[in-house]
């Protein structure tokens, strides 16, 4: 954490540099984590704050802004009003504790959705493709792939719904969310892999929905927190005596 925040009267003065900024558009503000006296603190920094500048990488608007671009953010004696502090000083990471696990479960739901569509596409492909005078849907390899995807979708969906229902019941879903995220991510990537094999190449052809879906499958495993961190959360619970 190289960005420092020093409190002066009714402002925090931010200094330092950050890389990457997601989803900027005309009226953006940044959610900035900076090191203050009491620890890492979260700030809302308006685009027009003096001393705040963005360079290296274009400012994109519209759908392009959904891409994380390698932007450099500079803070030079940038005054941020105390009112723009999100949460308490030094407690930036406490903010996420409540909503992060839930977001992970929602990501799991997306994985289930992508995989269901992949299965749909793979099924149509299997039913409509013939090789060596035989429909490929009759081939054991293809059937194995289809059944594998179907079973995994079912298992993943049950995990997602159960974890979401737990969250709604006000229970802690810290480890459940980690399990959902780990399992569903691997599930959707395997589904994309199987589908790609059933298609035998066409997922790489631009203009096909399945090509996009395969990308989504890959993409979703890289956003948010690393899978190793999910494993770490689960392992820590196991080592503490978790019975599954």
């Amino acid at each position: 954490m190289t960005v420092k925040a020093v409190k002066q009267d009714r402002h925090y003065i931010l200094n330092g540099k950050k890389l990457s900024f997601s989803r900027e558009h005309e009226d953006y503000f940044g959610v900035v984590f900076a090191a203050a006296e009491k620890g890492v603190t979260c700030f809302l920094v308006d685009k027009d704050t003096p001393g705040f500048s963005v360079s290296a990488g274009e400012e994109a608007v519209g759908w392009q802004s959904l891409l994380r671009k390698p932007l450099s953010l500079f803070f030079e004696d940038c005054p941020v009003p105390v009112d723009n502090r999100l949460g308490e000083e030094g407690k930036a990471f406490h903010l996420g504790k409540r909503w992060l696990p839930q977001r992970r479960i929602v990501r799991g739901a997306r994985c289930v959705g992508i995989a269901s569509r992949l299965l749909e596409e793979a099924t149509v492909q299997a039913q409509s493709t013939e090789t060596f005078g035989r429909n490929i849907q009759d081939r054991p390899g293809v059937q194995a792939a289809l059944s594998e995807i179907a079973v995994n979708i079912h298992a993943a969906r049950l995990m997602v719904y159960e974890a979401a229902a737990m969250a709604d019941a006000g229970k802690s879903v810290w480890k459940e969310a980690a399990m959902v995220r780990l399992f569903t991510t691997r599930m959707v990537r395997a589904a994309a892999d199987h589908t790609a094999h059933i298609f035998n190449g066409p997922p790489y052809i631009d203009g096909l929905s399945v090509e996009r879906l395969c990308r989504h499958a890959l993409d979703i495993s890289f956003s948010e927190i690393a899978l190793d961190k999910q494993r770490h959360i689960i392992a820590a619970e196991v080592l503490k005596g978790l019975e599954v």
Binding site: R23, G62, W63, Y161, H216
Partner: protein
């Protein structure tokens, strides 16, 4: 152990499912085909069509499902959000409620190297403000 969804949740699920099946999936071929043809590989939905879809999403009550009602969202439960997101993930389009007036229905950058670009729907920072 009850695995049955409540009537309300089933209704939300089928709203989202019908919208994706009826409105978004039929657009995929056209928009993706156009993206593949363009040299800069960008794809846009015609503005008029997009505005119509946004209006429809709002009317259906699928706009900002995870955002609390006080802040202008639908304020669905976690399970409700999951059901909606699962359906929405079945199309290549994404729905992004945001303060920008344009390109709400969007496609990720189709640049060849963008395979790993995290473009996914925004987990709105509004959730942070709880």
């Amino acid at each position: 152990m009850d695995f049955e969804l409540s009537e309300e949740l089933k209704m939300i699920q089928s709203l989202a499912r019908d919208f994706v099946e009826g409105q978004l999936k039929p657009l995929e071929r056209e928009v993706l085909g156009r993206a593949a043809d363009l040299s800069d590989a960008r794809a846009y939905l015609p503005q008029v069509k997009e505005a119509g879809l946004v209006k429809m999403v709002k009317e259906l009550g699928l706009w900002g499902v995870g955002i609390p009602e006080e802040l202008g969202g639908v304020g669905l439960s976690a399970l409700g959000i999951c059901l909606v997101e699962e359906e929405l993930a079945k199309t290549v389009f994404s729905i992004v409620p945001r303060n920008s007036r344009e390109n709400t229905f969007s496609l990720p950058s189709p640049t060849r190297n963008a395979l790993t670009s995290p473009w996914w729907r925004t987990a709105l920072s509004l959730t942070l403000l709880e």
